[in-house]
Amino acid sequence: MTGSLLTRADLVGSGWVEDACDVVIVGSGPAGSTAARVLSEAGWDVVIVEEGAPFPPEARRGDAWTGFKHGWRDVSMQVAQGRAVTPFLQGRAVGGGSPINGAIIHRMPESVHARWVERHGLGDILPLRRLERIFDRLDAELGVTPTPEAVWGGNNRRFKAGADTLGWASNPTRRAVTACEASARCNQGCRSARKQSMDQTYIPRIIREGARVYAECRVERIVEEGGRATGVTGRFRDPVAGTPSRRLRIHARRAVVLAAGAVHTPHLLLRHGLGRASPVLGERLQAHPGASIMAVFDDPVKMFEGATQGYETTEFWGERMKFETVGLPPAVAVQRMPGFGPALMRRVAAIDHVAHWGAQIRATTHGRVKRGWLGRPAIRWSLEAQDVARFKTCFRRLAELAFAAGAREVWPGIAGVPATIHSPDALRVLDALPDDPRLFHSICAHIFGTATLGTDPSSSVLQPTGESWSVRGLFAVDASVFPTNLGVNPQHTICAVAWALAEDLADHS
């Protein structure tokens, strides 16, 4: 039996849309799609409900705004409130964040896994050997390979040159991309569908196996009967304007699985009233905040050609820092350039000579997700002093890298620091500045915690199996269940954890 992908346009009329299945999965990102892939293969009848719309390759124009509007949550303007306003970037489309992320693949670091085992008691459910077996399967199914040299482009090449000069260990990024066309548009959606995102891989696969995917539908309520989750209700909406249309009710015979991400999974649980039973629900929000520099070279860099994020160094991973290339679309690149008016336009005219590299840190800051206004989640996050200090080190190292690669000047983008610097020493001025998150613009693109797994109901929201401590048949499998952040790009670990939890659900149900 073949399933279907259904949107508002396919469901004209009035009244409830109803469906019944073994498992309903909320969210079609890497976690939800992977769980669906495993459960569908195990013979379960699967329904996915996805808030975002399909964002097919032919709709991907390649410009920033089109990508933001159709692929990113809140047109990329979801923010956390704190001392600074911090963008919390998430995807929202069929495939979740995978159609618009950098497709970067890292396995879970062993030291992080050891912590999950020792401090959070997850060794029985997620032994390293099991995760490695799943990573191998994922690698094969998603076409994971190191970025080939032919598609590095100038942005990645210069990064490598700088790292080599400084003697930093660096490598081409492993990515889930097949025959990359080097269009530098991963974050606007790959128009040639070379990225092996969930909408190109697991979702077509589960639909062939009979799954139904309801897109443009926001789940509003988890249905609970006799202490057991038995389904969800939601409403189809225009994903951008929010205009409501028909309602949806899904009856789930065996399980309700949340995979809406580390902001919306806890929000759904809070709306369901689980906050009373789990005081840590929505707490321990963790992330990998990122910041960046731009570097100007005498020779053309051509940032708009080549793999978007094709090179990285984990030389300083032990200090909770990771550096990588980030090709920006022109709109975001110009916005990131310093200044206004003719001076800005002179910089823009030389945009071909500009490289853009970023740092992400494994922050120790914790935030929280709460219920906000108008049925929306509210994110609270304020980068703490120790993480600001890490960022200062990151800026110094990025500048060092850029000048080692032959940059003529660097635009650090830090308040209180000259807009243009000509040597890494110019960033000594950072020492005199306070450890204040408002000094620079950081973004958070990897978000964890808020509905964590654990062995103690007083300090976790879910059992190690992913099932709620208080509602039977209610599971979560996305990054919200992670007890800590990772320090590396998380898609692979998210898929692997979802795979393992779904496998156990199928085996033990």
Binding site: R61, T66, F304, P329, A331, G339, F340, G341
Partner: protein, 137 residues
């Protein structure tokens, strides 16, 4: 949320000051490409707080020079407009620094999504058609 006509005019004036034309032959400025319909597109699509922010910051930037120059932003000389934007960006107050930044983001999204701008910047274009919001009805 939809901006009033005069607010779109104010916002356009801010965009033109940030991204002026005539700096390099062949590189259009914000004044050379259709922006107004993007403003509607943005305020309709963005979260309410961001849309309100754009409206509020447009008012702040446009009317702020009245305090010391008895003129609106649009009637300042271009060099004074840029000087004012730099002064705000360099403020020691975080909120003030953010004001020109949000408007610059809107300006860049509207301007750099235009095919003629991308062509001038040498950006390979998979789709040479103007974005839907830039096509006049």
């Amino acid at each position: 949320m939809r901006l009033f006509h005069f607010e779109r005019r104010w916002l356009r004036s801010l965009c033109e000051a940030m991204l002026p034309g005539g700096v390099r032959p062949g590189l259009p400025g914000a004044g050379d490409v259709p922006l107004e319909r993007f403003f509607d597109e943005f305020t309709r699509s963005a979260p309410l707080d961001a849309a309100i922010g754009v409206r509020a910051f447009t008012w702040v930037l446009t009317l702020a020079p009245l305090v010391w120059r008895l003129r609106t932003f649009g009637s300042l000389r271009p060099s004074d407009q840029v000087r004012m934007l730099h002064a705000l960006e360099g403020s020691r107050f975080y909120v003030v620094r953010e004001v020109p930044g949000l408007i610059k983001l809107v300006a860049c999204l509207a301007w750099a999504s235009q095919p003629e701008v991308q062509r001038a910047l040498g950006v390979p274009q998979p789709d040479d058609r103007p974005p839907p919001w830039a096509v006049l009805p």
